[in-house]
Each structure stands twice: as C-alpha cells, then as structure tokens.
Symmetry: C2
Subunit: 110 residues, 2 copies
DNA sequence: AAGCCTTATCGTATATTTGCGATATAAGAT
DNA sequence: ATCTTATATCGCAAATATACGATAAGGCTT
C-alpha cells in the first residue's frame, strides 16, 4: 500500500509542487519577505521578527534551504541567508507555462 | 500549547500560504493542468487521467474548491469543474508584490 | 420500482508537518 | 581555559495530510 504516489507525476508537476510546499506556510513567507526586503544577506535578526521559537525558525530556514529557495553560509558564530532568485524565476516560469497562457482564452463556465 | 500559530501572521502571508498549500501536491497541479488545458468545464474524465483512486481525486477536488482555485457545479449525475482564474491572478499579484520587485536590485551575496 | 453510473463522504491507517524545549556545536570574548 | 552568544540538531507530542475501500447520494435508464 503506497501512501505517497508523488513519484507517479511528471517532474515539472513535482518540482512546482515542491516549491509551493516550501512557501505553503506563513512563517516561511514571512522569512522570505524579510530576506527580500533587506536586499542583502541576513545574519541573525530573523528570529526576532517571528512569533516562533528559535529552534522552529531554524527548522523553517532549513526547509527553505533544502528546497533551494534560499542560500546560506556559515559566517563565524552566525549564519547568513539570502534568497536564491533563480529558484523564484524557475517557479514563475513553470507556473506561467502551466496556467498563465490560457488565462485570456478561458471563459468561466461553472 | 498552541500547535498552529498561523493566525499570528499577516493576512497576505496567510492567503499566499493557503494558495501555495493548495497547489503543493502534484496531483492537484495535474488536476489544475487538465482543467486549464481543456478550456472548459470538465465533467468527469479527471479521475481517468490520474493514478489515484476516485475517492482520493474527489478529496483533492474538494480541497481545490475550498481553497477557491476552482469552481464546481453539480450537473445532474456529474460534477463540473473549472479554474477560477481570479484566484490565480490574485496569487500572481500577491506573489509578485512580495518578491518580484526586488529581483533586479538584489545581488547574490551568500 | 429497480438497476446503473457518477461523484461525494465516511472511516481508518500511515506519513508528514509543526512546534517546543533541551542539548549540541562553534566561534568570539573575557 | 571558560563563558557567552548564535545557530543547528535531537527528541518528542500534537495536528494535518494522504490514500484507500466501503458506502451513501443523486440522477438517468429501463
């Protein structure tokens, strides 16, 4: 009894879904937003602006990093994170190629 | 002990996260893709193109509908679904307003 | 009315996610 | 060498998500 059949879908579908899963939590959106707004690496400060424990934030950062949405380097006693814009471009491009093109020819019929 | 602190984030963050969660499974991406490609309501046929049981597909459809990504109407013995393009536009707009604008001024530094 | 077809819902098992505190790690400061 | 500070990881508990088969519900067809 297979309980996860994600493998049975196309690579593009899986990759889109994986990106979406990475941003499917408000905390991770908030983290990305902080990184985007600062326009540079953030070393620390992230925990302070979130209503979550340090360990929880660290876990979210790990997930974002593993999903490839952010890059991180260890810098002495701190860690520095910044957004991987290429991943965002890929998501946008994949997302649009699946849905965006049909928007104008599609009429609501339900 | 609150185990979900999603309420503590902004409405925009929550709404973006909710949309992302809805498309965070390959099966739901595949469903949306079928609906987008057909350019009309789909009554049936969806179960046939997915490697999942009928009940599972029905559940995914329910989730997509509850998240507002698709509209559905009961048409006699069948159900008809089509994409709610407005929801997609809102997602794109929210997504871009959070991340897209900073892309060009951002330099990779990690 | 009885049977059929399509879709939704229920019940249930398993897997994953979310969150926290406690602890480990690693570098700089004293 | 020890202490402090910042971050990561571990271990656990609770909540959600995923999937399926079984069953219900709602209209056609005969």
């Amino acid at each position: 009894m297979a309980f996860h059949k994600k493998e049975e879908f196309s690579a593009k579908e899986q990759s889109l879904a994986a990106f979406a899963k990475a941003i499917s939590h408000p905390a991770r959106i908030a983290i990305l937003n902080v990184l985007a707004k600062k326009n540079e690496c953030i070393c620390g400060e992230i925990v302070d602006v979130l209503p979550l424990a340090q360990s929880t934030v660290s876990q979210h950062l790990k997930e974002l990093k593993m999903a490839g949405l952010i890059d991180g380097t260890v810098d002495g006693p701190r860690s520095c994170y910044c957004i991987n814009w290429k991943a965002f471009e890929k998501f946008n491009s994949d997302f649009n190629s699946l849905f965006e093109k049909l928007k104008e020819v599609n009429a609501k019929c339900c």
